[in-house]
Subunit: 274 residues, 4 copies
């Protein structure tokens, strides 16, 4: 049923003397191949999010910029269970919020957030906002992550808090204008890769679909770590990270960490490639 698809298993990466030889994720020269690559990683991401319990009814969206029409993005069809999403089920949406490719219902709740964020950040390909349990709960405390573990440290300097309830009209009522909210969201996000939307949940970005997905998985895990650590006591906060890295290194690292998950889920659920 499924065609052999391009894979980027860790075992196929360029290496020398058993050491990885790669400074950034490989780019496919054929735009159509790159499109398929992104769509399949998007579908794999939804499958993984389903396993992790990140699906809450109709909520959640994970998008990928199209490599051919860079102001278009791919998104899941509303209401199709994450565990059943295949590459061909995805919808391509343009800047007017119109579906230009694919069948299915469109989730209109956050169209302008994805669009405006991709427009403001030419480096960004993947944007993830799922309703993972621990990210939602942590967001209610209105705090950023502390470097309490090696995993948490990855977010230091990459994260920002967004208090949507602080957006008010002149008369003090809550701002409801969607374009203005989107504008504030994008300005707050700025160049970060994790946004904690207070009393709502997490958003992550990545220069690849893979790194955006990995950051989201790691951010929900980090939220859980904070919830348990602070319930049990007072974590110690190191003043300095064990190791420092550049933005490019962090992108590569996020991309690499997604690969074992990709390899496993594709082996177990090859229909996602369809």
């Amino acid at each position: 049923m499924s065609q052999p698809a391009p894979r980027h298993s860790v075992t196929q990466l360029p290496q020398h003397n058993h050491r990885l030889q790669l400074s950034s994720p490989p780019v496919l020269s054929d735009p159509l191949a790159e499109r398929l690559h992104r769509k399949q990683r998007l579908a794999a991401g939804y499958r993984l999010f389903a396993e992790l319990g990140f699906e809450v009814g109709l909520a959640g969206h994970f998008t990928a910029r199209d490599p051919i029409e860079p102001d278009h993005y791919w998104i899941n069809p509303l209401g199709v269970p994450f565990s059943q999403i295949r590459s061909r089920d995805l919808l391509r949406v343009n800047g007017e919020g119109e579906v230009v490719e694919g069948d299915g219902l469109l989730n209109t709740s956050a169209l302008e957030l994805h669009y405006e964020l991709q427009r403001a950040r030419p480096d960004v390909v993947g944007i993830a906002h799922l309703h993972g349990f621990h990210g939602r709960v942590w967001s209610s405390l209105g705090q950023l992550f502390q470097p309490i573990t090696a995993e948490s440290s990855a977010f230091v300097g990459e994260q920002v808090l967004f208090d949507r309830h602080a957006l008010r009209n002149a008369d003090g009522t809550l701002l409801q204008d969607r374009d203005a909210v989107a504008q504030a969201f994008v300005e707050t996000f700025a160049e970060h890769n994790l946004l904690v939307w207070q009393n709502h949940g997490l958003w992550t970005t990545g220069q690849t679909v893979e790194s955006a997905a990995w950051r989201f998985i790691l951010a929900d895990d980090t939220a859980r770590a904070h919830l348990l650590a602070y319930a049990a006591g007072q974590p110690r906060i190191p003043q300095q990270a064990e190791s420092v890295s550049t933005p490019a290194q962090r992108e590569l690292f996020g991309w690499l960490n997604f690969l074992p998950l990709w390899d496993r889920v594709v082996q177990q659920q090859p229909d996602l490639l369809d």
Copy 2:
């Protein structure tokens, strides 16, 4: 083994330009088809509750008003594992607590609660009371939900606390008269869709089987969110919801959110339709 059953997958909903065109859940004109519709959603609900760990021995009941005899309701046979319940296993019960259709043992622990609540609330079709872990634990704290997340906000204005231990006879002993307890229960419930029975657990209602089931699943998740948030710190409480909705919109929203779960469980366990 199982006959093709009417389905209401999200993919089959009326839509225009990839947008949902629906202001309320569709109603089946054939009463027998509507009866089957409700019974199958009830069976699917039990399967989902089993997955979510909401089954505790013999405890729990989830009922649907019959569309033909509106003072009758359908309920699970006592002691049949939730994970094995099929549509045809359900019992139809009348106002005298007699089984008028179906085979199996009747759970008599809450007959009058379901009956009286349906009598007092002609709009209600589904009533759910399962012993989900987090709902039980949260109920012991004797508090309502706060809008700490988007999901929690759905219960603001829709919930009420019931302190059954405050029901006393004139001599101060605990009220044991079942009819009087049922009356107090119904009066407390009033027009809400979530009742927190202190030191016991959660009850939800809906104008459809689907919305009652979804509210129960979301309420147990919300209980878990509160338990973890308050263990870790002090959540921030927004003074105003991000978005406001009418009761009819909330009903439609609850109904819609159940659909991905329905689609998945019917695909994985089609015998529930039998």
Copy 3:
């Protein structure tokens, strides 16, 4: 492979007008059939404990008094994974700690505790001590359960705390004599059905294998409920139970609540009957 075995599914219980007609668990007149009945429930119990994560390496034992030689009991062979235990794998042990039927290694860590407890309690058939996570953790707090939920209420008046570290020799050192520890254990247990061994875990008893197993499952769940409730806040403690019951009713209730679990696990893993 497996022979048809006597089953006591809820659907086969005596009933009238869809109401259960039973005041105590049925007793099989044929002692050999009763022996097989107990062994199969024991094996099913181990399978369920495996599912629930109650297996920790070699730890844990769940025993059933033999109906023919009432000072003998049946126990699991040490080191066989709980998820693989079949009826025929069980060992029969006499009062001298000798295996008189069955093959396999004997867990000698608690022989005298099971034996002395069964000797002191002629009513007891099943005794369960597994290293379930939440029971272990709760035991470290050195407290009994409070009636914070309906499930917790089942243990009020049925539970006792055992502080093994308070057993001291005249010189203040910890008592190591195994017979003396067993004697103190039995005296503390007295007529209760739940013993909280401080800094160790839970023990439950029952007049049937089924009720002992159900009490253990419910006790570990209750421990989890207490841990989460007290982490999140201060639970409210009702002064009076919603309903009162006799010891015979509680035995029947425990036995009944095990049946849905039995029905499911036998259907899914029929090799346990072998």
Copy 4:
């Protein structure tokens, strides 16, 4: 596909009168058989760690000293999902960090830690460092385990805390020299079997692959126990262990407790033996 492999199921251990007759884990006289034995237990350990959720992207390494070249060790290929690792996938690494047997990418993040620890501890065969959730979170609190349960007691006297952030250069900046960090790590570890790397996670050692794996599983479970106990209240700390044991007994005990896990995982996933 898989060849029959040497097994050490509990059911095959030397016994007399249903009692285990063994004072230390059996050693295979054929070095090649011992090498295969270790590699297969290593692969089984990765499979179990995957089940337990200890895999976090590319993180984690579990090594076994080679019995033929005792300054070489076996390690997993970087990025292969733990759930898919087979015996033949493992890499053999020498003291220069070169792969001398096997194909795949090498995880260079901790080469010198494994090597120097094995060099300093001739008794050690297995070394485990996985990113299990609860061990990571507990490490952020900067504390050792207390004997709050029987399981926790196993670590008393066997554990040490390592504060890597306290390693500073003369100018106060964080020490980055890898050899110096490795030296401090080995000196801190000393003769213990559990090291809590503050703000990072857990390390365990064993004289067998099995005992190192069991200690790691038990240590992560113990971390979870501490997190929940301290969130809920104040655990009571016994002044004296229920039973005392020698290091040799603890090694045997750890080895034995791994066997039920081994038996189960080999039955369910025999391809790990390949």
